[in-house]
């Protein structure tokens, strides 16, 4: 894969340029939408429903973390089918197509988080030092989403209604993650199952380091790394099996 690094970067840049229509303003717009969403939600929960400040801040972090997962996986679905000529007309390792899509998404996500930081600073009055752990968590999250992307993009070649199915799955996952309600609302007997949702684990970690100022425990770090490795292994395995017939199926 290393010898293809320039191609990976070129495809990532192409993806971003297309997304931002090659303009600074397009880039600005793409940041504005998550920002507005976050501010509207903040306003509703903080001022209309009168929830405490802590909850509203956690909501912002949760939304940003969620967006990386939701956008990363749903845009991965079409990476193979949408770039048919790169699959059927030339040889390149096809994982590159998924990788560059996930890279474009992590860059978008990083920009959103960078916009979020000053907002957190204003609301909290400070930024915890533990925020320095953010890049590490984001990297683990990236591998998790890349693995999921490998699985989804290769299955989509054979099952073209997977995008509708995945849309429903992500909607369910959204409500099964502690984003618009706090984790403490989950009853004890449900908690073990609830924590099986990988996104929940990641969101808890982001909040720990960005808001509460706690270093993540070794155990929870091990848990998210295991999720990332599992997703990557399953994704790679399925992808390398299915990719043999990509050119026939597209």
């Amino acid at each position: 894969m290393w010898q293809y690094r320039e191609l990976v970067w070129n495809l990532t840049a192409t993806d971003l340029k297309n997304r931002y229509q090659n303009t600074a303003l397009g880039f600005f717009w793409s940041l504005l939408s998550p920002l507005l969403l976050a501010l509207v939600l903040y306003f509703i929960f903080r001022h209309l429903w009168g929830r405490e400040l802590d909850f509203a801040i956690n909501l912002l972090v949760g939304i940003m973390a969620w967006r990386f997962f939701a956008n990363g996986t749903s845009s991965s679905l079409r990476t193979i089918v949408g770039k048919a000529s790169l699959v059927t007309r030339v040889y390149i390792p096809r994982q590159i197509l998924v990788l560059s899509n996930t890279l474009a998404n992590i860059i978008s996500s990083l920009l959103e988080f960078i916009v979020l930081l000053p907002i957190l600073f204003v609301l909290l009055g400070y930024l915890p030092v533990t925020v320095l752990m953010f890049p590490l968590i984001h990297l683990i999250y990236f591998w998790f989403i890349y693995g999921a992307g490998l699985l989804l993009s290769s299955l989509f070649v054979y099952f073209r209604d997977l995008n509708q199915i995945w849309q429903v799955v992500t909607q369910v996952l959204f409500f099964c993650s502690p984003i618009i309600y706090p984790l403490s609302m989950i009853p004890d007997y449900l908690m073990p199952y609830y924590l099986l949702n990988p996104v929940t684990q990641f969101i808890i970690m982001y909040r720990d380091v960005m808001v509460a100022g706690n270093l993540p425990s070794l155990f929870s770090t091990a848990v998210v790394i295991s999720f990332a490795i599992a997703a990557y292994l399953v994704g790679s395995l399925v992808f390398s099996k299915l990719q043999r017939r990509f050119a026939e199926e597209i």
Binding site: E6, L7, N10, L11, T14, K17, N18, Q21, N22, K83, S85, L86, V87, T88, R89, V90, Y91, I92, Y158, F159, R160, D161, L162, I165, R244, R245, A247, E248, E249
Partner: protein, 246 residues
């Protein structure tokens, strides 16, 4: 020294009576128990070698397996059995301008297409001016590709492709597009590649081009090699076969 060794390759296509490509259709198919499909052997026990610096032509009727064979050599399709080994850098031209982005400029597209063909950025920097000059598009380097005419598009793609300097070129009919002048340019370029000692595998229906470029050729029919050898003789066999069918 062999540039390409193709060892006993077979390729089977499954053609289902009813194509199922959604979860829904698969479930319906399971319930109705429709699993019928036809098997088509596009290639059967094909073995041959291409020497370094040789130009090999592949001819045959439509559906004889030429393109399938070329796609397997290009590693786009995987054979059901058999193996293939390639020495040196291989560039496949099954289509020109793969990965061109209409929303990006000519310059950006040259860099993208070159990296798909396996060139480093630094290498592209060195030949960039040559590419644009050869395509006669220097003036338009910052124009978006969507505003190019199809002829300009083709010239840019071709010019980028020939500057990719692979050791082996796999060429499907791609160069048989464009006007007379363009085809002439392609012919000249391929002859030049040959004198430079590059290995070429050339699939075409244009028998005259094959005769001009390739000393050795292969005739495929229904997925098997009928004859392989001196191009003149193979073309005669092909013509005889065509007449036999009429």
């Amino acid at each position: 020294m062999s540039a390409i060794i193709v060892d006993n390759i077979s390729k089977k296509f499954r053609i289902p009576h009813e194509k199922k490509n959604t979860v829904f259709q698969n479930i319906v198919g399971l319930i109705k128990r429709q699993f019928d499909y036809e098997e088509l052997w596009a290639l059967k026990d094909v073995s041959f070698e291409v020497n370094k610096g040789e130009a090999l032509g592949i001819i045959g009727r439509n559906g004889s397996g030429k393109s399938t064979l070329l796609k397997i050599m290009a590693r786009v399709l995987y054979p059901n059995s058999g193996s293939i080994s390639l020495n040196g850098k291989v560039a496949s031209f099954l289509q020109l301008g793969v990965g061109f982005q209409p929303e990006l400029t000519a310059k950006e597209n040259v860099y993208i297409y070159s990296s798909i063909l396996g060139l480093r950025r630094k290498q592209v920097d060195r030949v960039y001016d040559d590419i644009l000059d050869f395509a006669e598009l220097k003036k338009f380097e910052n124009m978006k590709l969507k505003n190019f005419s199809s002829g300009m598009n083709l010239r840019l793609a071709f010019s980028t492709a020939i500057h990719a300097v692979p050791d082996t070129l796999l060429i499907d009919e791609v160069f048989a597009v464009g006007d007379e002048a363009f085809r002439k340019k392609c012919q000249d370029k391929m002859s030049q590649f040959k004198t430079e000692g590059k290995t070429i595998v050339f699939v075409s229906h244009a028998l005259e081009s094959v005769k001009e470029l390739c000393q050795r050729s292969m005739l495929l029919n229904e997925g098997r090699i009928v004859t392989m050898g001196d191009t003149e003789k193979v073309i005669n066999d092909y013509r005889a076969m065509l007449q036999g069918h009429q």
